[in-house]
Symmetry: C2
């Protein structure tokens, strides 16, 4: 197990695997809920790997997934680069204040077959062993608005 | 274990975990070699998740990593969306012909702190239990040229 890179010290509160539930809304779809698992891992380098998967609470069928890397920049600044199997990639920039990470997209791009998403805002905020996450997005020609929010607990 | 989505049938040859070695060159850096592990997994949905990690052959220190999703489009067309901890995301489009996937970037974007990469070409080609992969890139203001090539074997 590598020692945590000093650049990642502000992200130490995220490390581990978290499980919980979330809910989603958007004007173009039915409201939904989901079971979520998120992991934040490091390899001794100046970034933290993020992997997220959700599934249907009833059928346990996989719903969403995404993966990316958090890149602390010093001075409370942070970048997040992210990829989604829906054919979308995101570059986000933002701040770490204590256990609260707030990010806004600098760019969102999709492949030819992806649904149009133009702006995202993401937040991860922890209260000890409880992690909250939220995503807002401007998609399908609509304005930026809340999409999903979840509450997770760290696995021992 | 979910059944493979029919859209992913052309990618069945990739599924599993592969290990091997590779070499890298670029005019701006010293030649290097690496040990690589790649996995291709599916969850019954119309994409295949790709995760890659490399390490130094001597020290076993982690070198590169990347993650993404292969999205077959039918008619031998395929998309790959990819994220790198170096702060770079790629959208690639290309073809599947038998066990040969060739992709060219439609877009490469980096965060403010990432090194400038403007074009990539990626290829995965298999010969039974041997998988080859290669990446060419235009980076640091230079023309598109070979960067890494590796040869991997599927774990039983």
């Amino acid at each position: 197990m590598a020692e945590l890179h000093q650049a990642c010290a502000p992200l130490a509160f995220l490390l581990g695997t978290w499980q919980g539930t979330g809910t989603g809304v958007y004007p173009t779809i039915e409201d939904f809920s989901y079971v979520e698992e998120v992991s934040f891992t490091h390899a001794g380098k100046p970034f933290v790997a993020y992997v997220q998967k959700t599934k249907d609470p009833g059928s346990a069928m996989p719903l969403h997934a995404e993966a990316g890397y958090l890149r602390p920049q010093g001075g409370g600044r942070i970048e997040l680069v992210l990829v989604q199997p829906s054919g979308i990639v995101e570059l986000l920039e933002g701040t770490i204040e204590g256990s609260d990470i707030r990010l806004e997209s600098a760019a969102v791009l999709g492949t030819a077959s992806a649904k149009p998403v133009t702006v995202t805002e993401r937040r991860f905020w922890a209260d000890g062993e409880v992690l909250h996450s939220s995503v807002a997005m401007a998609a399908m020609g609509l304005e930026l608005q809340p999409h999903v929010v979840s509450e997770l607990r760290r696995l021992p």
